[in-house]
């Protein structure tokens, strides 16, 4: 797309969202926070501004954002969910963003590794924050989220539901006809988080390909986000969802008893939602204030109780038997290998070989940042 056209598109989008916002703003004037899908804005009393870009739906983060706004009412807060609306290239950072949050760990690591992030600053992050969730004072893991399986209760009618990767493979092979078209997972070509999940599965053991091939034969549906998977599961279109973000799944399962959340017994990859302050951030101090808030015990309290996001701080919850299979993805240079251009290409190529009959190649042209 030519640049001029792109700018025009962006302007139009902003105008549309502004128009959409107006009624909402008047409706919740006392809160002064207005949200539309993919966007949330808290009008501050002062001139200070903070632009956050994340790949979590604004609604999920809403309690944290509102608490922050209540604490610092002078700051005008803009939260943009990059998984919605305008797509951008995964490389590079938009210039107006003060805080970039994403669970696409390798991409975030690559940005920081290339020196595009600035220092988080001394005394910003809660000192009890674990070292495994920090890198170089440039990256910080804000959440800790296992990748889980979710299935509908009626699955139990076919037999004992799968509890780990191996039993999922067996289950797929046994009930292929019944399951055809009713399994859902991330599309690694379109979602960096999905790509992370697949690449980590494969890096851990090449046996994962056997599972993916079985999933391909069962005409597994590929979607962009955990939210889409959960929606399909709730609606009954899908029976099994594979590699869902644990935080969303837990929330959905709480309100929908027909769903069952299964943390794989053998291993469950635990993603971190990494935040960084870009070098180009226009208001880095506001971003630091937000990080100080969200990592404080108060912020973590709100996050763990009022959002489905998991805290990286050690809690009693992490000590449950299911949590012992958690395998946190480390912040090490090895992450770069996951998104090596050649490797990525090869992995996606093989993935598409498995899934192509049901997935026209054209839909992969636009690889925006989605979850």
């Amino acid at each position: 797309m030519p640049n001029a056209l792109r700018t025009l598109y962006r302007t139009a989008l902003i105008m549309v969202s502004v128009i959409l916002l107006i009624p909402v703003v008047t409706a919740s004037a006392d809160e002064r926070c207005a949200s539309s899908p993919g966007h949330m804005r808290c009008q501050g009393k002062g001139s200070e501004r903070l632009n956050i870009q994340g790949v979590v739906e604004a609604d999920v983060l809403r309690p944290v954002l509102e608490a922050f706004h209540q604490r610092y009412p002078q700051i005008t807060l803009d939260y943009r969910d990059a998984s919605r609306g305008e797509r951008r290239k995964p490389e590079g950072v938009p210039r107006d963003v003060d805080l970039l949050m994403s669970s696409a760990m390798a991409q975030q690591y690559q940005l920081a590794n290339a020196g595009l992030a600035q220092s988080l600053g001394d005394g910003v992050v809660n000192p009890v924050w674990p070292d495994s969730a920090r890198w170089r004072d440039e990256l910080i893991g804000l959440t800790h989220e296992p990748l889980v399986m979710v299935y509908r209760r009626e699955l139990a009618d076919m037999g004992p539901p799968p509890v780990d990767h191996a039993s999922l493979l067996t289950f797929l092979n046994h009930h292929r006809n019944a399951l055809t078209g009713r399994i859902v997972t991330y599309d690694p070509a379109r979602s960096p988080t999905g790509f992370m999940a697949v690449a980590q599965d494969v890096a851990r053991s090449t046996e994962a390909w056997t599972l993916f091939e079985a999933m391909g034969k069962a005409d597994t549906q590929l979607v962009d986000s955990t939210a889409a998977m959960l929606k399909g599961l709730i609606e009954g279109r899908y029976l099994i969802g594979y590699n869902l973000m644990g935080s969303y799944a837990r929330r959905a399962v709480q309100s929908h008893p027909e769903l069952v959340l299964q943390v794989p017994d053998d291993y469950a990859l635990a993603l971190q939602r990494l935040a960084l302050i870009p070098k180009t951030a226009p208001h880095p101090d506001m971003a630091r204030r937000f990080l100080a808030f969200i990592t404080s015990s108060e912020g973590q309290q709100i996050m763990t109780t009022r959002t489905p996001l998991g805290s990286p701080l050690p809690t009693d919850d992490n000590a449950t038997p299911a949590a012992t299979s958690l395998e946190p993805i480390q912040l090490v240079p090895g992450l770069l290998a996951l998104i090596d251009p050649l490797k990525r290409e090869a992995l996606l190529h093989r993935w598409q070989m498995i899934f192509t009959p049901h997935d026209p190649a054209g839909s992969h042209a636009d690889t925006g940042e989605v979850e």
């Binding site: 290339a114 890198w135 090895g334 770069l336 050649l342 490797k343």
Partner: protein
């Protein structure tokens, strides 16, 4: 006069400066060697990582294929917080894979089978880049390729600092020991000096005996000079004591005479006796006064506080005037006192009072010993002011002795024994000396040689 810097401080200062200079050099050397070690270790790390990576380069689907191993990338970050970069470059120089364009940082790229490192800067990040030239090992494909790996310098810096800190600590320990040793050695070496000082301090003011102690060679000369000075002081002390003794003795004689005369006169009621006693008392008083005056003159001559005031003095006039003062005394003694027939004019730079005093003493002396004739004269060629008499003169062997205070040729002579000493003092004050000889006609000549002064 402010004291010069102490010997201790000089030695300590010099040695400390030398020590510190050595330290600085050693520190520099250890910094560079620490850097070299850290670089060597981490360059080897780059090389190993590149080797591991090269095992994963292959040919697939008609193109170079690279399955980058995560472990090799992790290896590049030994501290965990280094930024890590890698690039695979094919034989045409195109980057095939990687997360940075490292091939722009090194040219030319190494030939297959070699490894090269270079320090570079990528977007403001200081990097160490290692490049491994390699070749595919498949049967049909032997294309060369280059693997470039790079990392930021945190681990190198940390290692350099750690190595440097260790060697600096060692060095600091050595320096502390060396300084302690230095202080102790200095104290030991300078001990004899302190010993000498305490010995000198403990000495009483009257103790002029030689210092007897064994000292190092360097102090031996000082000690010898000190002992020589003490010896001279002893000599001076002996002279002074003798002088005082002689002076008291000389003063006592006329005073005893006066006392005796007064006592005799008091016992008598005869006025004639009184008259004679008064005359004797007068004579004694004169002698005592004369002696006191001479003592005063001698003291003034020796005193450094009275500087010599030089002015032109005509010796002829001086001789004439002095002569006139002595004529009555000469008449009384029946001696012919006069000026030499040929008396040239001679002017010297000097103190007229001192010269007159010297001449007076010479004439006075001559009058005492002369039989019938005393002549005052001037020798312009030798620059001598002299007095001749026809007395017995002074024997050549006694000539040095007579210049000493209170020495007299005849033990019970009429003089005080100070006259020649005063004349000698004046001659020496004027940079000259006394001259004594028997003239051709048998007369004894004594005079002051007064050399021409510089001014």
């Amino acid at each position: 006069m402010s004291p010069a810097a102490s010997l201790h401080r000089r030695l300590l200062g010099g040695l400390t400066v030398l020590l510190l200079l050595t330290c600085v050099l050693l520190l520099l050397q250890s910094w560079y060697s620490a850097q070299r070690s850290a670089d060597r270790v981490h360059d080897r790390l780059l090389s190993s990582a590149a080797q591991v990576m090269s095992d994963h380069v292959s040919w697939r689907d008609g193109r170079l294929w690279f399955d980058v191993p995560a472990s090799a990338l992790n290896m590049l970050a030994p501290q965990g917080d280094e930024r890590v970069f890698y690039t695979l470059v094919d034989h045409k120089g195109h980057a095939v894979s990687g997360n940075a364009d490292l091939n722009a940082l090194m040219s030319p790229l190494p030939t297959p089978g070699t490894f090269r490192t270079v320090s570079a800067n990528l977007n403001g990040l200081s990097l160490r880049v290692g490049a491994l030239g390699a070749r595919l090992t498949a049967w049909h494909h032997r294309e060369p390729y280059t693997l470039l790996v790079a990392h930021t310098l945190e681990a190198r810096r940390a290692m350099t600092l750690a190595l440097f800190r260790d060697s600096s600590l060692r060095l600091a320990g050595i320096v502390v020991l060396a300084l302690a040793g230095l202080l102790m050695t200095l104290r030991l070496a300078l001990n004899p000096l302190a010993h000498l000082r305490t010995k000198l301090k403990a000495r009483s003011a009257h103790d002029l005996s030689p210092i007897d102690m064994s000292v190092p060679r360097e102090l031996q000369e000082l000690l010898e000079a000190l002992n020589a000075l003490l010896a001279r002081q002893r000599q001076v002390r002996i002279h002074e004591q003798r002088f005082i003794g002689d002076a008291s003795h000389q003063l006592r004689t006329p005073l005893a005479g006066i006392a005796a005369s007064a006592e005799l006169a008091l016992r008598s009621s005869d006025t004639a006796h009184w008259q004679q006693a008064l005359q004797e008392i007068q004579g004694g008083t004169r002698r005592a006064t004369r002696l006191a005056e001479q003592l005063l003159s001698l003291t003034r001559l020796d005193s450094p506080q009275a500087p010599l005031t030089r002015q032109p003095v005509s010796l002829e006039t001086l001789a004439r005037e002095t002569l006139i003062r002595f004529l009555p005394a000469a008449d009384r003694a029946g001696i012919d006192l006069g000026l030499a027939e040929h008396c040239p004019a001679l002017t010297v730079q000097g103190d007229d009072w001192q010269l007159e005093e010297a001449l007076s003493n010479l004439i006075d002396n001559a009058l005492r010993y002369a039989r019938s004739r005393v002549t005052v004269g001037i020798d312009a060629t030798d620059r001598v002011l002299y007095v001749e008499d026809d007395g017995p003169g002074i024997h050549a062997s006694a000539r040095a002795e007579v210049l000493r205070p209170f020495y007299r040729d005849q033990e019970q002579g009429p003089g005080s024994g100070l006259g020649l000493a005063i004349a000698d003092g004046v001659a020496r004050t004027h940079d000259g000396h006394m001259i004594m000889r028997h003239a051709a006609n048998g007369d004894f000549m004594i005079g002051l040689h007064l050399p021409e002064t510089a001014c």
